[in-house]
């Protein structure tokens, strides 16, 4: 796996989170009734940072949760792969809340599709708004993000690799080639 292009480094990362936070606040006019839910694994940590930024700007508290969509994936049902299942951890009521759904990369849209189904089983939120750090195109279902950190043009043989301090020890987003 070789790096083709560095999309974002440490300092750019924080600026991107700040901008996304401001956009979310502008659209929702504050943090009232706002909850932030990250998709496992990396969306979870992006969600925490986003929530911290929202509180830092606006004050108040923003609840965060984690959604595991493994059981809702269409590739599991078709024996395509069997990822590890981990628990969803949302300890608050999402009914009538504005849910900010957070993932690192938007690609085929299938993960987000699963997440929307999973959210519906937990409650009826007022809105669901999708935040991604990178939109790399190649959608297979009609899904779009509401807030996008960066649009990146990619080909199928490439991958957007997001590394986060919490998991990988550093913050970086790179475009990498998966072809040998």
């Amino acid at each position: 796996m070789n790096i083709l292009q560095n999309i974002l480094d440490e300092s750019g990362f924080d600026r991107m989170i700040s901008r996304l936070a401001h956009e979310i606040l502008e659209r929702n006019q504050g943090v009232d009734n706002l909850v932030v839910i990250g998709l496992r694994t990396r969306g979870e940590f992006v969600a925490q940072r986003l929530a911290a930024k929202l509180t830092q700007i606006e004050g108040g508290t923003v609840q965060t949760g984690v959604l595991d969509v493994t059981l809702y994936r269409d590739d599991v049902r078709h024996h395509l792969k069997q990822p590890e299942v981990r628990a969803t951890d949302i300890t608050f009521d999402i009914n009538d809340k504005h849910v900010i759904l957070v993932d690192d990369v938007l690609f085929t849209g299938r993960t987000v599709r699963s997440a929307l189904n999973a959210l519906l089983d937990i409650g009826r939120s007022r809105t669901v708004q999708l935040v991604v750090l990178v939109d790399r195109g190649h959608r297979e279902v009609p899904i779009r993000a509401d807030f996008i950190g960066k649009n990146v043009t990619t080909s199928r043989g490439q991958e957007v690799r997001v590394r986060l301090r919490e998991v990988d020890g550093l913050d970086a987003i790179d475009l990498v080639s998966t072809e040998a």
């Binding site: 493994t70 059981l71 049902r77 024996h79 981990r86």
Partner: protein
């Protein structure tokens, strides 16, 4: 790896530790679903599960059926009393007919030890053993293990004693295999007439005195005296059994230590266990039942979505 190495769950004998850990670790996911307003996920949508019960069961069948429905599987129930078994059909013919109806997973209980394995080798469906004779009852042992782990965090080095009719108990056998694999110290206790010989060779300690057993234990798993299996032949009277081996509040309080009390149900109150214990602070009997649904969901998920 997050896939099971085994295609069927026939028993816990010879199931590697990493498979047991994967099943136990997955249970939290499914417990969380049971707390939701909509207790259903689409994971096994389009899969058909048949509950093939040649022997009566209420709680295991309901627990499996709930687990199946909560994973959105299509469920068919079959019980021997209403079936062509009565008309003399053989086990293999019954199973082949069911399989010809394109069933993905078979959950099976039968009075004959080894019957589930027998069919799993002759059919293409995935098999889950829900109890075969006095052989194994793996999901019961898994739910026992997960319940213990919720209390203690780990099974490694834990002293667990199974009390009662060990010789006729599939629950005991599955628990012994599973607990030993997970690194627990396993003991059994009961009337000598109900303890199979040679257990020590498996690394299991044998107590014939209940107080010695309680002294040893962090956890006790109290088995039901199976009145229907003419347990009366192995000891003089229920009252005598209760006096010698019954778990009473007084016995537990006298120990002056923490104790976790499991029972696979249904309980014979006042025989193997006193009501005051079954309903008291030592007991995890009802959490066992909840965990039973979750662990069966975990097993159905892991077996049902496992890549061929």
């Amino acid at each position: 790896m997050s896939s099971l190495s085994i295609p069927h769950l026939l028993g816990l004998h010879d199931v590697p530790k990493q498979d047991l850990e994967l099943i136990l670790d997955s249970t939290d996911t499914f417990l969380e679903i049971l707390d939701r307003p909509i207790k259903k996920v689409p994971t096994l949508q389009g899969k058909t599960v048949v509950n093939l019960f040649f022997e009566n069961s209420t709680r295991t069948r309901i627990s499996f059926e709930l687990a199946e429905r909560r994973l959105s599987a299509d469920v068919v129930n079959f019980s021997a009393s209403t079936s062509s078994v009565k008309k003399g059909e053989t086990l293999l013919d019954t199973a082949r007919n069911i399989e010809a109806m394109k069933v993905d997973i078979v959950v099976m209980r039968h009075a004959a030890a080894g019957s589930v394995k027998f069919l799993s080798e002759r059919c293409t469906s995935r098999f889950l053993n829900a109890g075969d004779g006095a052989h194994e009852h793996p999901t019961q042992a898994l739910l026992d293990m997960v319940t213990i782990r919720q209390k203690t965090g780990s099974l490694e080095g834990l002293n667990v004693c199974i009390i009662g009719d060990i010789a006729h108990s599939r629950v005991a056998r599955s628990n012994i295999y599973g607990l030993l694999t997970m690194g627990a110290n396993v003991a059994v206790c009961g009337p000598a007439s109900m303890i199979p010989y040679d257990l020590e060779r498996m690394g299991v300690r044998v107590f014939t005195n209940i107080d010695d057993a309680l002294d040893f234990s962090d956890v006790i798993n109290v088995l039901r005296i199976q009145l229907e299996r003419d347990a009366g032949a192995d000891f003089p009277s229920l009252r005598e059994y209760h006096n010698a081996f019954g778990i009473t509040r007084r016995r537990l309080d006298a120990l002056g230590k923490d104790m976790i009390v499991l029972h696979p149900g249904p309980i014979n109150r006042g025989v193997e266990i006193e009501s005051e214990v079954a309903d008291g602070p030592y007991s995890v009997i009802l959490p066992q039942v909840t965990n039973g649904v979750a662990i069966r969901m975990a097993v159905l998920y892991l077996i049902g979505t496992r890549a061929e």
